[in-house]
């Protein structure tokens, strides 16, 4: 069951109703049953992995909490991380590593005894695995106590709005909310529904429309010229933003309807004036997870090397980010590109600050706009590796963009709808960035403006939405 299916539109109101009419002490049970039903609905057998990850995390966090000496605590943490990562490694990376080994050894006329295995990646495994690991590290760091109620741990890891594609939440934010009694609140219900509607608009009207053009161009790169490829390369970051950003809003809105606050996942990323700022606004839940559990320990360990310690930590963190996205060299290069951009910024940061102070540029709008464009171009160019199927394909895209122009492939209807959709999203983000709380349609004090806005956006979704094959990009990760 995915957010864009008819089943979900029946499932969710029923769950919300059951949640609010359940006795307050047992509301979390309603959510837990709903979450397992939601996940079983996708492929029943994969729920066993979810149960395994939950039980391992539950047992080891209690052991960490009860252990007297640090070495035992560390041992339990490491054991849990290994056990929790095993299914992720097997389903996501085993096939790739096995294939590489078979090919390498065949070059030496050696036969690799394991057969080539390809399994479907269990949906959401990358997300709930990170949530489980984050929780066990938090208990290890004494930032929260180990939860003694297995059901609450299971609910945190399987919570249906988040399990398939995040946001990657933290136990210290969610567990207290699951324990609390939250009476039905009109503000929460309407705010949640508004987020969901905007999320559906981003996904169905914008992301999936852009996807028609991008999929066609990237589907057969060899027949496309540089002009078509540059259009696809510019459109793809907007597609991902509307896709994962839309998904995240539906997830956050779903939780909000039930009175639960979930971390924001995107914060108007295309208004960033540096890559560092961009990564504080893009896929926030993943980056803050990586910052807390990978970058900070690494940069702490390498701090004696000063700025170069930061560079090493950045490169390794984004290498992990790339590998998390997929078991392909394209993702490794994508991650290393992000690490390189951020490292260059870190090394030159003082010079940039001095330059801005010297020429009084911090309030200069044209200067900011120029950096926004540079930041977008850097990110869009790195996303070529995020989208192309192979390294050869990605290199071909760069080569064609730089050397081959000509008339682009023009699917005018798709492009027109895509550009209007992007423009609407950017205008809303612009308003939220610079005119917070002003010119709001969804929260306007006049009811007729609010209701007109709701009806308009629902009509736009029904009239211009793409309702075929609505898989989310991040399901593959």
């Amino acid at each position: 069951m995915v957010f864009t299916s008819l089943n979900f539109l029946l499932f969710f109101p029923l769950v919300a109703l059951l949640y609010y009419i359940s006795p307050k002490k047992w509301r979390w049970v309603t959510l837990l049953v709903a979450s397992f039903f939601f996940y079983i609905n996708i492929k029943p057998v994969y729920v066993l992995l979810l149960i395994g990850v939950t039980c391992s995390t539950y047992v080891f966090t209690i052991l960490i909490s009860n252990a007297r000496d640090d070495s035992r605590r560390t041992l339990y943490l490491v054991l849990n991380i290994i056990l929790v990562l095993l299914p992720l490694f097997f389903f996501k990376y085993f096939s790739t590593i096995n294939t590489i080994m078979i090919r390498l050894l065949e070059n030496w006329s050696l036969h690799w005894p394991l057969p080539e295995i390809k399994y479907m990646l269990p949906l959401g495994i990358s997300f709930y695995t990170f949530m489980a690991i984050g929780y066990s590290i938090d208990v290890y760091n004494e930032e929260l106590d180990a939860e003694r109620n297995l059901g609450l741990v299971a609910l945190f890891i399987s919570f249906f709005p988040l399990i398939l594609s995040g946001p990657i939440e933290r136990a210290k934010n969610m567990l207290p909310q699951f324990r609390d009694y939250r009476p039905i609140n009109y503000e929460n219900v309407t705010a949640g529904l508004k987020l969901m509607v905007w999320g559906y608009f981003m996904k169905l009207v914008v992301a999936d429309r852009i996807g028609i053009y991008v999929d066609l161009v990237y589907g057969d790169i060899s027949t496309q010229n540089g002009s078509s490829l540059i259009i696809a390369a510019v459109l793809y970051p907007f597609q991902v933003y509307a896709d994962l950003g839309g998904y995240s809003l539906i997830a956050i809105g779903t939780a909000r309807v039930m009175g639960l606050d979930v971390i924001q996942n995107f914060k108007r990323p295309f208004f960033s004036t540096s890559m560092a700022e961009f990564w504080r606004r893009w896929h926030i839940s993943l980056i803050s997870w990586l910052t807390d559990y990978v970058y900070t320990p690494l940069s702490f360990r390498f701090r004696k090397y000063k700025i170069w310690g930061i560079v090493i930590a950045l490169m390794l963190t984004f290498l992990v980010s790339g590998i998390w996205h997929g078991a392909a060299l394209t993702f490794v290069i994508w991650g290393l590109m992000q690490g390189t951009f951020l490292s260059l910024e870190a090394v030159t940061n003082k010079k940039r600050t001095s330059f801005e102070q010297k020429y009084n540029l911090s309030a200069n709008k044209i200067y900011h706009l120029a950096w926004m464009i540079i930041t977008f171009v850097l990110f869009a160019s790195s996303q070529i590796f995020g989208r192309a199927a192979t390294i050869d394909d990605a290199l071909l895209v760069y080569r064609r963009i730089l050397t081959e122009t000509g008339s682009p492939y023009l699917d005018l209807t798709t492009l027109l709808y895509s550009f209007i959709g992007i423009l609407i999203i950017l205008l809303k983000d612009f308003k939220d960035e610079y005119f917070q709380g002003k010119m709001s349609f969804f929260s306007n004090s006049r009811a007729w403006i609010r209701y007109s806005a709701y009806l308009t956006i629902i009509f736009i979704i029904l009239l211009f939405g793409v309702f075929k094959g609505n898989s989310f990009i991040y399901f593959q990760f």
């Binding site: 930032e143 970058y295 900070t296 320990p297 701090r303 930590a313 910024e345 870190a346």
Partner: protein
């Protein structure tokens, strides 16, 4: 070391790391209040504090610091 002396020395570290002579430290100051205080510059700040006060932090201690006041308290315990 007296609190006032720590604040004085710490202010110099902040001004140097963030390239801003106008920084005035307060107990409730956090990364949200100072331009460029992000996860990248944070570790440079930590290294500079360790060098200035001849102390060593543990990662767990860093994770628990929520504002400059807690940072001053932690330095006070170590010097």
């Amino acid at each position: 070391m007296e609190r006032a002396v720590i604040i004085n020395k710490l202010s110099d570290v902040f001004r140097k790391v963030f390239n801003n002579d106008e920084i005035e430290l307060r107990d409730d100051l956090t990364a949200n209040h100072i331009d460029n205080w992000d996860s990248l510059s944070h570790m440079i700040l930590v290294t500079e504090i360790e060098r200035t006060f001849c102390i060593k932090f543990k990662l767990k201690e860093l994770n628990k610091m929520r504002n400059v006041g807690e940072m001053i308290e932690m330095i006070g315990q170590k010097v």
